[in-house]
């Protein structure tokens, strides 16, 4: 079920209509959300109806075991078991694509039409589920005794495609109390986010992807260097609007059920350095990598700073490889890890405090802009490896950029307009969005409904071709 699509919004509307009358009966409302979660998974493949409940049940039991056990070795064994289950699930689906493709012809002989590969990666399920057992292991959270609440929270449907990764303990506490006040308070915001996310996805991300980015990355040699450069910049914005659009819809969908999910993006291309970028981009994953991977690596408290830098590179490289087992993602991770390490070294060097106090008066807007531009350029450079089909394609694109040929014959008015909107919407002052939200919330219900109906017609229109799946859905 693609988000945003007519089936998804019908599904969401029906879940909303069924949920609130049952909300007074905790077990019934949890049961309904659990049914919705599993229905959502089953739309991708029926196999998930076995995989997800099995993994969730094991994690529930491990959680209880962790809560009750005081033996360090047993607790360690239990948490390792949970890590093995969830990483095993992640790896078996994410990294066995090639093996599945090899099996496909064999399976096709027996079951024609059967797809061996599962369409939906369970990465975000695994990350979310691990927050539960790891938090209990670290004694940052308590295990729930409600099997139903655990199953429901760990597979909460708005978060399973691509996050925001939410701590299961937070979801359980929200699901087990009445969220009607949250929903009432945030009705306007929920619809605003769903509308904004849909617009971001369909009108900006998909348009740029279809009409510029895919073409440039497929055949850079057919375009001038300036067009290729625009294509790379367009990809940076396509990815942002695609992913943040999805996050908006997920957060808005959850709010309709009275559940608050964490913010996932904060205008990432306004970052002034790469560490700042990762505080603004895919925040829930950055936090997950920091809390559960980076802090778990050895040597963090060592007096040798080298460990800190090395751990940053390792964390980001693993984060890169998580996107796919190929050189492109590894290079992307290494680039970001190295940049983070260099930034950390630069920001913590002993002479930094004096230098910054001396220069702060003379720097200012110009320096900030230069830092923003430099960070954006670096991020775009790394995106080339992230987006290209393989290493050769990435190098060919970069090489073609080096030809410095100038021309914009393939960039039509619609593309220029969309690019300008994408850039401007990203860089307008923060308070504009706050004011827009306030104005939206102050609109009468009928006006909001009318605006959403217009959006529905827009979705109907684009549904003719089907919106492209969210880019991060495949990771």
């Amino acid at each position: 079920m693609t988000i945003p699509s007519v089936p998804y919004f019908l599904f969401l509307g029906l879940v909303f209509l069924a949920f609130w009358p049952l909300s007074r009966f905790r077990s019934l409302s949890l049961g309904l959300v659990l049914f919705a979660n599993y229905f959502f998974y089953a739309r991708y493949d029926l196999a998930y109806l076995f995989l997800v409940p099995t993994a969730s049940s094991l994690d529930f039991l491990i959680g209880l075991g962790l809560q009750r056990s005081k033996l360090p070795w047993l607790r360690k064994a239990l948490v390792l078991g949970s890590v093995a289950i969830n990483l095993g699930l992640l790896i078996s689906i994410r990294y066995t694509g090639d093996a599945a493709r090899l099996l496909q012809p064999l399976a096709a002989d027996v079951f024609p039409g059967w797809q061996v590969m599962l369409p939906l990666s369970l990465s975000f399920y695994a990350f979310q589920s691990l927050t539960y057992t790891l938090d209990i292991y670290r004694r940052d959270a308590k295990a729930t005794t409600s099997y139903l609440a655990h199953l429901t929270a760990v597979s909460f449907f708005p978060t399973i495609l691509a996050g925001p990764i939410t701590r299961v303990s937070s979801l359980i506490s929200q699901l087990t109390r009445s969220g009607v006040e949250v929903a009432e308070r945030n009705t306007g915001k929920a619809f605003f986010l769903i509308g904004l996310g849909t617009t971001k996805k369909l009108l900006i991300a998909d348009y740029l992807g279809e009409n510029l980015v895919n073409r440039i990355f497929d055949f850079p040699a057919l375009y001038s260097a300036t067009e290729v450069l625009l294509g790379v910049v367009a990809y940076a914005f396509q990815l942002y609007y695609d992913f943040s659009g999805y996050s908006d819809i997920a957060i808005g969908s959850a709010l309709l059920l009275g559940i608050q999910l964490p913010v996932n993006f904060k205008s990432p291309y306004r970052a002034t350095d790469i560490a700042d970028f990762w505080r603004r981009w895919h925040i829930s994953l950055s936090n997950w990598l920091r809390d559960y991977l980076y802090f778990s690596l050895p040597g963090l408290r060592s007096k040798w700073k080298l460990f800190t830098y090395l751990n940053l590179v390792i964390t980001m490289t693993l984060g890169g490889i998580w996107h796919g087992p190929n050189w492109n993602f590894a290079i992307w991770g290494i680039l970001h890890g190295t940049a983070l390490a260099v930034t950390r070294w630069w920001q913590t060097r002993p002479s930094r405090a004096d230098a910054s106090s001396r220069s702060s008066a003379t720097t200012g807007v110009a320096a900030k802009l230069a830092c923003q531009l430099g960070t954006f350029a670096f991020v775009c450079f790394a995106w080339v490896f992230f987006r290209a089909e393989n290493l050769d394609a990435a190098l060919a694109l970069l090489q073609h950029l080096g030809t410095l040929t100038v021309g914009f014959a393939n960039i039509n008015g619609g593309l220029w307009l969309t690019l300008v909107i994408a850039v401007v919407a990203h860089y307008v002052p923060d308070h504009w969005y706050g004011e827009a939200l306030q104005r939206w919330q102050s609109l009468p219900a009928v006006a909001q409904a009318a605006a959403l109906a217009v959006l529905a017609f827009l979705i109907q229109y684009t549904a003719a071709t089907g919106s492209a799946p969210f880019i991060y859905q495949r990771f």
Binding site: R43, R185, Y433, L437, Q441, P444, A445, F457
Partner: protein
């Protein structure tokens, strides 16, 4: 029980309009504190404002049903059902293969007639004869001196547009042909890439100092572009290097122009001199010269030593029987390149030098952009191109290869086949059959109308984001189809030849008997 009409149109209370988190990445502006502390009305536990917005929106979405003339589509019952369709279009076909192994001969022949490669006039017979000789030479026992096993290569010239420029499709056909009939060398290569898109499988070009002219770049006044459609003018110091992945080539044939005051250029292989070529002559004349490569040569370089020279490209051969498949693509190329832009006498001379067994004319995609042109001009241009090839190399087979499907977005946003593509294919087929040359229906072979839409959503993607240029996997698919078409017709040719020889020998045997 339900909220009143006034409630629906009223502004929300401050409590409703505030206290919310900002949207993604934005801080909400400071808002006034809530003063509406009354417990809100709830029906069946619903947050009423959300419920009313949802229900009104649903009502508005169905409003167009009251005015069917409006170009707005409303939610269809099927879409409601689709929200609950667990299989979501997935099908599980456990059926039995319906191919009947005992299908009648008629149906087999009918299927044959539907084959995308048509050659009812047998125009490819000279090409197939050459293939047969090559095949026989490959399987015959070589004589002690090895000479008898070597026949001239079966040379295929494939003229085309952008996919051919990037050696897409052609590289795949070359590989399949050479696996089947033997590898007699890479064939033609330009001496510098006129477009970044120009790339040949197994050949890497680096060059400097050349001024290039081509019908689709800046044109040369005399229309002399050589076999490959690009002319390279260079003065002293101009240089090209061709790195070969395959070190098995034995000969290089270089194409150039002789002219008054022509300069000299030299060729080297792996640093060893192959010879110097003087292009000076009394008159203007297209020419070529073949030089022997040392064993294992991996780099061939060409350098202008004196004056100014004009070079058209070079061909690489091996001393063994097999196929040479030359990819001759021009970015943005169309049939007019062959029918009018390349000077006829010059091109005829270049074709004769190349001694092709088959010339493939593979255009149509770029023409399909211009509807009027397709209707009024394409047929004339194609007839002229075929006539030119036939006059230049009468013994060569000619194959007109249709364009692939070309996808465009329609008004509803669907990827559909450009309306002119079937028209181009129809014209090409009609002209080819009328002029008694062979025709390969690429469009049909790849799946016909709407193929690019399927290719675009397939995994891995088979066509690029422009719905025109095939990805390597898509190009291979088309290349395989063309090879299979050629091989099928070759089998039919051999069958015909066998029947003919049987028919000739049977009466003699009868007399003897």
């Amino acid at each position: 029980m339900f909220p009143s009409l006034r409630d629906l149109f009223r502004k929300p209370s401050i409590a409703e309009a505030t206290k919310s988190e900002p949207p993604q990445g934005r801080e909400a502006a400071p808002v006034a504190p809530a003063d509406d502390t009354a417990k809100p009305f709830r029906l069946l536990g619903y947050p009423m404002r959300a419920l009313s917005v949802l229900l009104m929106m649903l009502g508005l979405v169905y409003l167009p049903q009251l005015a069917p003339s409006l170009p707005l589509s409303t939610l269809q019952p099927a879409q409601w059902i689709s929200a609950f369709d667990l299989l979501e279009g997935r099908t599980f076909d456990f059926g039995i293969v319906t191919d009947d192994p005992h299908a009648s001969l008629d149906s087999l022949l009918a299927r044959e007639r539907e084959h995308p490669l048509l050659d009812p006039s047998g125009s490819l017979d000279p090409f197939f004869r050459a293939l047969q000789q090559t095949e026989n030479a490959r399987i015959s026992r070589p004589k002690p001196d090895g000479a008898a096993a070597v026949t001239g290569p079966v040379h295929v010239l494939h003229y085309g547009d952008s996919p051919t420029t990037a050696d897409l499709i052609t590289a795949d056909v070359r590989t399949r042909m050479q696996e089947r009939f033997g590898d007699a060398g890479h064939g033609f290569s330009l001496i510098a890439p006129p477009w970044a898109w120009y790339k040949h499988h197994g050949v890497k070009l680096s060059a400097s100092g050349w001024a290039m002219a081509s019908p689709t770049l800046s044109r040369a006044n005399d229309g002399m572009y050589g076999l490959g459609g690009v002319s390279f003018e260079g003065s002293q110091g101009a240089h090209s290097e061709i790195a070969l992945q395959d070190a098995g080539h034995n000969r290089v044939q270089v194409y150039y122009l002789k002219r008054p005051n022509g300069g000299t250029f030299s060729l080297e292989a792996d640093g060893a001199s192959l010879g110097e070529i003087d292009t000076a002559a009394e008159g203007v004349e297209s020419s070529s010269r073949t030089l022997v490569l040392p064993a294992g040569a991996k780099r061939v370089s060409l350098r202008v030593d004196r004056g100014s020279v004009r070079v058209f490209g070079l061909e690489l051969f091996k001393n063994k029987p097999g196929v040479v498949y030359s990819s001759l693509g021009l970015n943005g190329g169309s049939t007019e390149v062959l029918s009018r832009h390349i000077a006829a006498a010059h091109w005829a001379q270049q074709l004769r030098e190349a001694k092709p067994s088959l010339v493939i004319i593979n255009y149509g995609t770029n023409e399909s952009v211009y509807k009027e042109y397709v209707s009024k001009q394409l047929e004339k241009e194609l007839r002229q191109a075929i006539t030119r090839v036939r006059e230049a190399v009468p013994d060569a087979g000619i194959l007109v290869m249709s364009p692939m499907d070309r996808g465009v977005r329609d008004e509803a946003g669907n990827i559909t086949t450009a309306a002119t593509i079937p028209q181009v294919v129809e014209i090409q087929q009609r002209v080819a059959l009328d002029m008694k040359v062979a025709f390969f229906n690429t469009f049909q072979a790849m799946g016909g109308s709407g193929t690019m839409a399927k290719w675009y959503i397939s995994n891995p993607r088979l066509v690029g984001g422009d719905y025109i240029h095939p990805m390597p996997a898509g190009a291979k698919l088309v290349g395989d189809k063309l090879f299979e078409g050629i091989e099928e017709q070759y089998r039919m040719f051999k069958l015909r030849e066998l029947r003919k020889s049987l028919a000739e020998s049977t009466p003699a045997q009868g007399k003897r008997g």
